[in-house]
Structure formats: structure tokens, C-alpha cells
């Protein structure tokens, strides 16, 4: 799967959000604080690959996805789209880039305008980019609705979101993302708001569309079982950093990082004979404002050593294509 050319290369990407200072902070001249949502993330996504960023809430996976599309402006780093730095694009080229890179949001109950019809929602990107006349646009919309299996499309064109089920809404959101024929899609938790039985449907649709439309995905999820099903490679994030990266089978079946191990051990399985054992982790996630020194996971790590408090571990290749940032594995 990694044989193709990279579509997206993310190099040392950072996004810091300033914390609003109170009056007392100003008077005391306390230094400005930042939430380091994304703190030096590097990875590449290859043609037709589904790359997953996984982690708990607040780990920076969504911010990474948005920063790649410049929906939030990154603080530092590079994002290369087919070799060109997206962060240096001017407005004209950014608009061109937006045709090629799209996003599907988590909650189809909130990401669709309640007073617009399915046709209006899916057609809007065409209008913005001034593509085709009215008749051509209707054809394109009809075609894409068929592709996302809203059949027959005529029956859905003039419905409003409240007349659709959750699964159908997410199909509309996918159709909207695909209407401009993009090459790269950020899918931000696209199934986490959906029922179990509908999840399979949407995941299978996304796999089908990857082949039909030659798509490359960044798939953001907190659910490793979903990641294992749909992704080719995965990066595990914690407090703005990637801790482990590799093929999804490698990382999930043979994890190296203590955090990845803890995360995997906490996932229930549908088999009632398999139970969750002890979860090898202490405490709760540290504040992203006061990130612990050294390895940011060390206060929660059951293997924590002296060096972990002092030196930040680098991502090191432990086996082919499998990278881990941990002092235990060097």
C-alpha cells in the first residue's frame, strides 16, 4: 500500500492555541500560556492509502486534520500536498487546493444546514467554485448521490436533513465532500455518531469510494476496532505527539509503546468470553498547557524510568515501517 507517491507529507507540524490571559495575569506580567494541541507531528500519506490518527479526546488528532487543510492556521511546520507547501499558498491557490482536499465531519446532525435541501447542500461547492451551469450541476449532484448509494437520487434531492436517518445524512456529507472530485479527504470521526449497524455500511461505502474515486484518506478516530477495519497505517497520538506509527496490523497486534498497549487493553470485544484485564496505566491525561517534561506520558507510564522525565524520546524505527517514541525501545 505504501508503494505509491506521497499525497500528503506533514513535517514537524505544530499548532499552539494561546490561552486567554486574565486581568491578574496581565498585571503580574505572567508569561503567555499556550495549549500545545499539535506539537511536532511528522507523517506521510501515500496515494490511495487510508491513514489513521487515533487517540483519546484532546490528543490533537482533529486539530492535525484541520491544520492540514488550513481550517486552522498551523503555528509552525510544513504540509506538502504533492510536493507543494500548502502553508505557503496564497488565497487563489488555497481555493484551488480546497477543490482537491475535502473534509467529512463527525456529526451529520450538525454538519448539514437544516434548512437546505440535499440538492442545495451537495451543489453548494460547485456554485462556490463556479463549475458548470444549472443543468450540468444537477447531473453531477445526481451522479454523486448514486455513488454514495442514495438511490434513487430523485427521491432524495429535495429532502431536508431532518427527513433523513443518521446514515443517510452522513452519505449526504460524503457526497458534498466528493462533488468536486477531490484527491484527499480528511474524515474526522465519520462513524462515531452512528449506530453500530450503520457504521459498517458507511465504512464499506468509504472503502468502495476509495477505489472508485482513487481517494486518499486521513481517517481520524478514537475507536481502534474501526481503525483496524478500515485503515492501512495508523499513528497513535498523545498530547499533541505521535507515539507510535506503522501498519495497522503491526501497531494493534504487536504494539510497542506502553500507551498503545494500555489503549488496546481497554477496548471491549463483542465476544463475552474475552474480558478486559488490568489496564496498564496510571492517573488521567495531563493538561496540554503544562505538558510533563521529557516523555509526556511518563506520569502515567508503569515503566517510567529516570530518563523519561528528562529526555523526550524520538520516533525510532523498531521494525520495517513501525516507529515508536519510547525509551524502552531503542
Amino acid at each position: 500500500m505504501t508503494s505509491g507517491k506521497p499525497v500528503i507529507e506533514v513535517v514537524n507540524l505544530k499548532k499552539y492555541f494561546p490561552v486567554r490571559a486574565g486581568l491578574i495575569d496581565l498585571i503580574m506580567r505572567r508569561p503567555r500560556l499556550y495549549i500545545k494541541a499539535v506539537d511536532g507531528v511528522t507523517f506521510s500519506i501515500y496515494e490511495k492509502e487510508i491513514f489513521c490518527l487515533a487517540g483519546e479526546s484532546g490528543c490533537g488528532k482533529t486539530t492535525t486534520g484541520r491544520a492540514i487543510l488550513r481550517l486552522v492556521e498551523p503555528t509552525a511546520g510544513k504540509v506538502l500536498f504533492k510536493g507543494e507547501n500548502v502553508l505557503e499558498y496564497d488565497n487563489v491557490r488555497l481555493k484551488e487546493f480546497r477543490k482537491k482536499a475535502q473534509i467529512i465531519f463527525q456529526d451529520p446532525y450538525e454538519s448539514l444546514h437544516p434548512r437546505m435541501s440535499v440538492y442545495d447542500i451537495v451543489e453548494e461547492p460547485l456554485r462556490i467554485h463556479k463549475i458548470g451551469d444549472k443543468k450540468e450541476r444537477l447531473e453531477l449532484v445526481t451522479k454523486i448521490l448514486e455513488d454514495v448509494e442514495l438511490k434513487p437520487p430523485e427521491e432524495f434531492l429535495y429532502r431536508r436533513p431532518h427527513e433523513l436517518s443518521g446514515g443517510q445524512r452522513q452519505r449526504v456529507a460524503i457526497a458534498r465532500a466528493l462533488i468536486l472530485n477531490p484527491e484527499f479527504i480528511v474524515a474526522d470521526e465519520p462513524v462515531s455518531m452512528l449506530d453500530m449497524s450503520i457504521r459498517a455500511e458507511i465504512l464499506n461505502l468509504m472503502l468502495k469510494l476509495r477505489d472508485e474515486h482513487k481517494l486518499t484518506y486521513l481517517f481520524i478516530t478514537h475507536d481502534l476496532a474501526v481503525a483496524k477495519y478500515i485503515c492501512d497505517r495508523i499513528g497513535i497520538m498523545y498530547l499533541g505527539k505521535i507515539f507510535e506509527l506503522g501498519s495497522v496490523e503491526e501497531v494493534i497486534d504487536n504494539p510497542y509503546h506502553p500507551y498503545t498497549k494500555a489503549l488496546i487493553s481497554a477496548i471491549p470485544t463483542p465476544d463475552p468470553r474475552v474480558k478486559i484485564g488490568e489496564i496498564p496505566i496510571k492517573g488521567e491525561v495531563s493538561s496540554p498547557i503544562n505538558v510533563p517534561s521529557g516523555c509526556s506520558f511518563h506520569p502515567r507510564c508503569i515503566y517510567s524510568m529516570k530518563i523519561c522525565k528528562e529526555v523526550e524520546p524520538k520516533l525510532i524505527e523498531v521494525s520495517k515501517g513501525h516507529y515508536v517514541a519510547c525509551h524502552l525501545h531503542r
Binding site: M196, I198, A200, H222, V226, A266, P268, D271, E284
Partner: protein, 326 residues
Amino acid sequence: MLLEVKDLKMYYEILGKGEVHAVDNVSFSLDKGETLGIVGESGCGKSSLAITILRLLPINGKIYGGEMLLNGEDILNMDLERFRREIRWKRISIVFQGAMNALNPVIKVGDQIAEAIMIHEKISKKEAMKRVIELLEMVGIDVSRATSYPFEFSGGMRQRAMIAMALALNPEILIADEPTTALDVIVQAQILKLIKDIQRKLKLSVILISHDISMVSELSDRIAVMYAGQIVELGNIVDVYVNPLHPYTKALLSSVPSIKEKRRKLKSIPGAPPNLLNPPSGCRFHLRCPFKIDLCAEKEPGFIRASKGHFVKCHRFEELRGVDFR
């Protein structure tokens, strides 16, 4: 038998449109110390079932029949005021979905739990606080945090506080309705463990409601699969997992990814759940069922005993044993 529910019917009246058959002929029982899981898609009536058991119905929710016995005593037709005083919260309590956002933001957590106790029991604030401290210890919250406000708690701690509140009056039955939605995986696992520990310690009976079959499998002894307002399969959790009989159960199981298994193609269930204002004739699943025959559209199947403790609502379960969904 601690709780026995027989042919329970609860419909929502929609003005000018008729009734939504949210809970329709539901029967099950719950033993002391047992965990019963209830799974199903959204809108299948599982949360409606929970509020029916607690008789917390909205104004248009009406009970149309059935029986509900707690230790043999009829609690469905009991005077509502008496039910409120003697049963709800005291003997059957609930942790609602998204309950962690239900704490009052301007009252200290310990005081909120104490208040719940003092409303029901005539004891002093001091005694109530003593009980609060025991409860917080039991759910794994440091006692010094009793004087914290909810916003100073993490999501997991707020959920623990809600569980403490549900246990405040020593109930016999705890209903947990999606107790871990919106929590991270590790926190979810910790909350599940907590429920399991408390249940063993207090010999509590638990009704665990969720759309997530993996989560239900983790805790339950028995499982009830709900579809369109009805229980379509009920049995020991391992029996149902290893040998699912109803096509809907088979479909549900084949649509869930597992982290422990090799990658296999997930199968989705075609179509959408029916509108309960006007439920389909015969078997309610027949419109989506790949195994339907003419009989399925004509006659509603009974709740048939397939083996000891394993019940199924399907005309064809016998011939379909071992047959995979699709």
C-alpha cells in the same frame, strides 16, 4: 426472581397521528445479583423501556398493559406517589445517558449527593455526609474532592459521582443507560470495571442498556436484543454470541468490528428500522430480513423457547441455526 416484566406495553401518543409503539409486549426477568444487557439500534425502545420501568414517562407516554412485579409486588399499578417514595431511587435507580452533564454546576458534588439522600431519608446533614464519603470511596473518588464543584472534575469522575448518587439509597436494581457515552476508551473501561466491582460487592442487579454490543458483552450475564419496540432474542450472553438465533442478532454481530479478530468484511443491515407509529405487520424485522417467507409478513412470531433460557421471536429460527446473515 427480583423483577418480572410481562407483556409490557408503553406507547407515545402523537396528536392526530396515533401511537408510537415504543415498548410493545416486552417480557423479561431479572435475578438478584444479575446483569442483564439490553442492546439495539437507536429508536428501538431501549431507553423508553428504562423510563417505563421507573415510571418516569413524559406526559404523552401511556402504559397500555402488562405487568411489572418487584419481589412479587405489583409496581406498575401502584399509586404513583407511593412508587416515587418507596420504589424509585430507593429500590430501582438509574444512571442516565449523558448523566455526567446533569450535575448542578453551582453546588459542590458532595452536597448534591447528600441532598439526594436527605430528600428521601429523614437524617441529619452530618449523617448524610458520612454516607456520601462512603459512597465516594466506593466509586473511587478521593474523599477530599467532595468539596469540589463539578467543573473541577473530569468526565470520568463526574460519571463516577453520578453512579455514587444512584447508589445513595442502597437500591436493589441499577439501570445504566449508555453509562459510558462521551467517555474515552480508557475511562470507559474503568467505569465498566467500577460497575462490575460494585455489583459484586453489593449483590446489585444491573440492567445495562447500550447500542454497543461489545460493551454489553463485557458486563452482562444475559442479553436481550431489542428491535422496533420488542425483544427479539433473550438468553445467556455466551449462548447468544456463539449461537445467535434471530436474523437481527446475527446481523448485529456481523456488523461489529473486533480488535481481536483478523480483518473480515463487515456486513451491514440493509434498510432502516421501521416507523413505530405504524409498525409492519407480522414480524417487525421482515422488511429487512434476507430469510423472510410469506408467513413472516402475515403472522407475528411468538417468543419461543429454543433451549433452556434462550428465547427467540422468529418463525424460522430452527431451520436457520448456524446459517450466517446473508
